[in-house]
């Protein structure tokens, strides 16, 4: 029985290859900082690229990534029109620290709360930070796990490659 399941999964994956390789955002609701419900499929940026970064207030590399990008965000926006969306996976324990942290850090990003990890799970994010790049058609074209100093340069090259 177990072997059968494995064979079936393998077959299922093979069949999967005939599917389009494009990947869209899932139909999942998150919360805005002012309490409203927002469906992540409604993200838009006038056909310019969107960066989605999963982070948490307790995650050092996540904050490093978003703080480093914050310093050059204006330049990025001027040159490519990119928008950065930061999705906090802080749960009830630390959710109330998100707004104070974001505001005190002068972040200009769009912030959403995914407090029971529904979006995180739907996008296959096993740990934070995890960054996705979305093109003008709303498709995920690039992703990156983890953050080490300087990774924002690679991200920016990817953004430039898809911006018009």
């Amino acid at each position: 029985m177990k072997q059968l399941s494995i064979i079936l999964i393998a077959t299922f994956l093979n069949v999967g290859t005939i599917f389009s390789q494009e990947r869209s955002l899932p139909n999942i609701d998150v919360k805005t900082l002012d309490g409203a419900t927002f469906n992540i499929q409604d993200l838009e940026n006038e056909n310019n690229p969107i960066v989605i970064s999963f982070w948490a207030t307790w995650c050092k590399p996540c904050k490093k990534e978003l703080n480093n990008i914050a310093e050059i965000y204006e330049d990025w926006q001027d040159e490519t029109g990119v928008k950065v969306v930061a999705i906090s996976i802080d749960d009830t324990r630390s959710m109330s620290k998100v707004a104070p942290y974001v505001n005190s850090s002068d972040w200009e990003y769009e912030i959403y709360l995914d407090s029971n990890s529904d979006l995180k799970r739907a996008l296959g994010v096993s740990s934070v930070p995890h960054t996705f790049l979305i093109n003008s058609e709303g498709k995920i074209v690039w992703q990156h796990k983890g953050y080490i100093d300087g990774d924002e340069d690679e991200l920016y090259e990817q953004i430039q490659a898809i911006s018009k």
Binding site: I9, D34, N103, G124
Partner: protein, 550 residues
């Protein structure tokens, strides 16, 4: 359960055959392998298997408003810091969901949280080995603009099986501003939820309730930078299954949580208070342990990321505690004397958790106790933490993070020791984390941490004493990292236990794949996420971690 898994897979296959376009398949994979070598000096044992492994693969199929997925999990055998009951292979998680005109239907497994989780939270936390996914049916419906309803029925997962209790739940939320189309700058959101657990009674002496109900009400008011959240929860009596009269507790349970936040550019403040009394909800009244907990009362303390700051972590006492926390975030402006060229960020955090007045509510023929609502003075202190974090970028090459903290940890109580065994530990911790950019993409990061501990009372056993830790990390963006660290228990009273715990780690990252390999000794300790903790045994060996996402 396996039959069902098979059914789901066949179902996927049929979808594949009939709908060859527009569908998307994606998922993620995680492998954690560890070898265990004996090391008597740190009490590390060798595993009979030599190597143990936890792995999983998630697959999600989506097409328009339909999605289905499964997770294959493999524990051969589970890592030593996991419960032994995670054993073997299987597909313990599979679901299908679709949504149409505001109605979302899910069959199979799902995760759910009502309000802040005081009466119900089903979630997964791989690091802790917690996964209490529900298996059943869930409906979500957007009734009108701003009104949403959720309801479910199901059983909760424990390891590769399901706990005895059957849960039924309903939750409603109304966003007044959206529903009434108010133009007000203040947003009002009200919510209410109800949960019921059915479990057959089998007590020969006492008539235990078969259906245990819990309800909660919540309120969220938001105006500009202000945000207030409050929730109150109540649970009817849910006695333990005992035939001893003095062990049976017919008291009800209750809890509240309340937080007020204000923030503006460069400044933020959050104040929180919570209290839990007899508020543990288990999926089976006859079991104990984190795998059976179905509500979430997170500890009111800062989740620390540095090792020595998290050496003495606080675990929530859902049976009875009162906690307060205050956080202040401030950014000293760029260009000022203390702000320098880039500004300086400060975070001051204070938290304090104590017991309820003479313990939690308790009621039977022999006892009738109800603690007073708010009481700080004279109560048994469980945990306190005051810490200041300074984050500063000095110039284009150098940045640092500095933390100083003082923590008080009631080891006897929080670790279930006999009173007087270790007593209360007070520790003062300092952390300096310095990054130096050598050239484009190359960064050297160093951490030095120190912990000075003292036992506040005379106790029969000596605690480990003082620690120092140093870490060096070299990273080459975007692909490589290399880390070496040493934790040294130099202040242990017992000279034979003044040990070094050296770890080296090497990793490669590329896009959606991450590989890392490490070798070293881990100290026995308590690891917590959100106030839920597990004991990690000491270990010595090699570990391999691969994560990938597609």
């Amino acid at each position: 359960m396996k039959n069902i898994s098979l059914g789901f897979i066949l179902f996927f296959l049929s979808i594949n055959i009939f709908a060859q376009n527009n569908g998307e398949i994606h998922g993620d994979f995680d492998l954690n392998m560890q070898s265990y070598i004996e090391d008597a000096t740190i009490n590390a044992v060798a595993a009979d298997e030599i190597i143990r492994n936890n792995s999983f693969l998630n697959i999600i199929f989506t097409k328009n408003n339909f999605s289905a997925g499964l997770r294959y999990e493999s524990y051969l055998n589970a890592l030593l810091d996991y419960d032994d009951d995670f054993k073997g292979n299987g597909i313990p998680y599979r679901f299908a969901t679709y949504s149409i005109e505001g109605l979302e239907v899910t069959a199979g497994n799902f995760y759910e949280q009502f309000g802040s989780g005081l009466i119900f939270r089903s979630y997964e936390e791989k690091g802790l080995g917690i996964d209490n996914a529900m298996d059943g049916i869930r409906l979500k419906y957007k009734l009108l603009k701003g009104i949403s309803l959720k309801t479910f029925i199901g059983k909760s997962r424990t390891y590769f099986t399901y706990a005895d209790g059957i849960f039924r739940g309903i939750d409603g939320e109304i966003d007044l501003n959206e529903t009434l189309e108010l133009q007000s700058k203040t947003r009002y959101i009200f919510g209410g939820s109800f949960i019921s657990r059915y479990q057959q009674r089998n007590n020969p002496v006492f008539e235990l309730p078969q259906n245990v109900g819990l309800y909660a009400g919540r309120l969220n008011i938001i105006n500009g930078g202000w945000n207030y959240y409050g929730e109150y929860a109540y649970k009817i009596n849910d006695p333990v299954n005992s035939i001893q009269e003095d062990a049976v507790n017919y008291a009800s349970g209750n809890a509240f949580t309340s937080s007020l936040t204000f923030s503006k550019r460069g400044f933020g403040i959050t104040g929180e208070i919570h209290r839990a009394d007899n508020m543990l909800l288990l999926s089976d009244r006859d079991r104990i342990g984190k795998a059976y907990i179905m509500n979430y009362i997170p500890t009111l303390s800062k989740p620390h990321a540095y090792t020595l700051l998290a050496l003495y972590p606080c675990a929530t006492q859902a049976m009875g505690e009162l906690g307060v926390q205050l956080d202040i975030f401030y950014k000293i402006k760029k260009g000022s004397l203390l702000g320098g060229k880039y500004g300086t960020k400060l975070n001051l955090n204070f938290s304090r958790i104590n017991g309820l007045n003479n313990g939690n509510s308790f009621k039977n023929d022999l006892t009738n106790h109800e603690p007073i609502l708010i009481s700080f003075k004279g109560e048994e202190l469980y945990f306190a933490d005051i810490n200041l974090e300074v984050n500063k970028k000095v110039n284009k090459r150098i940045r640092y993070n500095f933390v100083i903290a003082n923590q008080t940890y009631n080891k006897d109580f929080l670790e279930g020791k006999t009173p007087g065994e270790y007593g209360v530990i007070n520790s003062t911790i300092g952390v300096l984390d310095l990054s130096y950019k050598i050239k484009k993409g190359h960064t050297l990061r160093m951490e030095v941490q120190t912990l000075i501990a003292k036992q506040l009372e005379t106790a029969s056993k000596k605690e480990e004493g003082d620690w120092v830790m140093a870490l060096a990390e070299y990273t080459i963006s975007p692909n490589w990292f290399f880390t070496i660290q040493d934790m040294y228990n130099y202040g242990n009273d017992d000279e034979s236990k003044r040990l070094h715990y050296i770890n080296i780690n090497f990793g490669f990252l590329k896009g959606a794949n991450r590989f890392s390999i490490g070798y070293g000794k881990k100290r026995e300790g308590i690891f917590c996420v959100g106030g839920v903790c597990k004991l990690v045994p000491s270990s010595n060996g090699l570990n391999l971690n691969i994560t990938s996402s597609f």
